[in-house]
Assembly symmetry: C2
Amino acid sequence: MSELPTPDQLEVRLRRVGAERYHHLHPFHHLLHTGKLNKPQVQAWALNRYYYQSQIPRKDAAVLGQMDDAALRREWRERIIDHDGDAEGEGGILRWLKLATGLGLDADYVRSTKGILPGTRFAVDAYVNFCRSKPLLEAVASSLTEMFSPDIIGQRVAGMLQHYDFVSPEILAYFNKRPVQAKRDSDFALDYVKTHARTVADQQAVIAALEFKCGVLWSQLDALHFAYVEPGHVPPGAWKPEA
Amino acid sequence: MSELPTPDQLEVRLRRVGAERYHHLHPFHHLLHTGKLNKPQVQAWALNRYYYQSQIPRKDAAVLGQMDDAALRREWRERIIDHDGDAEGEGGILRWLKLATGLGLDADYVRSTKGILPGTRFAVDAYVNFCRSKPLLEAVASSLTEMFSPDIIGQRVAGMLQHYDFVSPEILAYFNKRPVQAKRDSDFALDYVKTHARTVADQQAVIAALEFKCGVLWSQLDALHFAYVEPGHVPPGAWKPEA
């Protein structure tokens, strides 16, 4: 039987998952922030990622709904508030919609999610279902990709502003708040899993949950890359750039 | 308000969905049956598709479990029997495993599904979840891609035998039984949806279910194509051909 790694050793192992599997390594991310995409390709990214953003509060409700403790729930509730805002016209989902419309997409079309790739839908839905069906510890662990997001956001925003004349700081305003929110949220979640993963099996499940989530993010970029970077690969029914 | 199309008009509409969205149109299918893939690429196809096969009885149990009528259930039960067989060493899943091992993959590795693409897993799980969460009519309609499978199977088997020296009729034995089973099953399912889709909304839901399912199949080939046809795109953790 293996000895239980310490919480800090677990953290090292989780950070290694990020170093090896987070989507900062994906070629589409590289193309995006180095200015190698054209406007329709950036639009496709914004359109598809809107679906991810729009489902986050449903995912977080599944996690919150598993929590037995009001203090925990209050903490987790912040995530839902961040995304949904306090009133119409606020919140992270709305800010992402503004990113998409700032790039020239129609708001109703984006909100309808009619044009997203099947691969986007299946990956995002897999994430929501994971959090609905897995134990709380694993559901919390699946959020830990946020440990790695401040870096990728910095790279993405700086690169996009430098390389694309159709991008402005206003369009990318979604990202202003994310690094602080992500740091707060992932500090909390990391502390939670370090405290609550009390067996080798727990730790393995935590690592597997983070690997799963890296797959959710990675496979969204796979779908985008295949459909919109190579010509001729847009699946039937998905958004097509105007010719 | 639109007039209700006749059952036969609904069938025409469903066949058009197939003509426009079924994966016989996917470039990966074309590469596969025209001999343009190498052995590792065919192995990747077999490895990933195993996961799809392996989940079919769980999907069919979700459908069967919604049926109120023993005669219906007996009909649908055939699908589960086809895939699981009557004893160890029988059934469609086992025949697909033999296809994979006949191509040189390790049986335990294939069965573990450890090396499949995230895109495969998310698409297949989306199908199972669709049949668990949607009304019976839509769950039945999502199986209607089988209307189109006898043609694609014929093309695939003939093409693979002609072009790949590592493929034999024994390896492809899985497909021997499928056209007859698929015809029997899709005749039944088509008759069911033509009889039970009694409103415009029902018919639209049936069409949307078939479109959804086409997306499930299509997006599996997208994931394969992106990961294994272009070099350098295998996601972290997925099966890599030996160098």
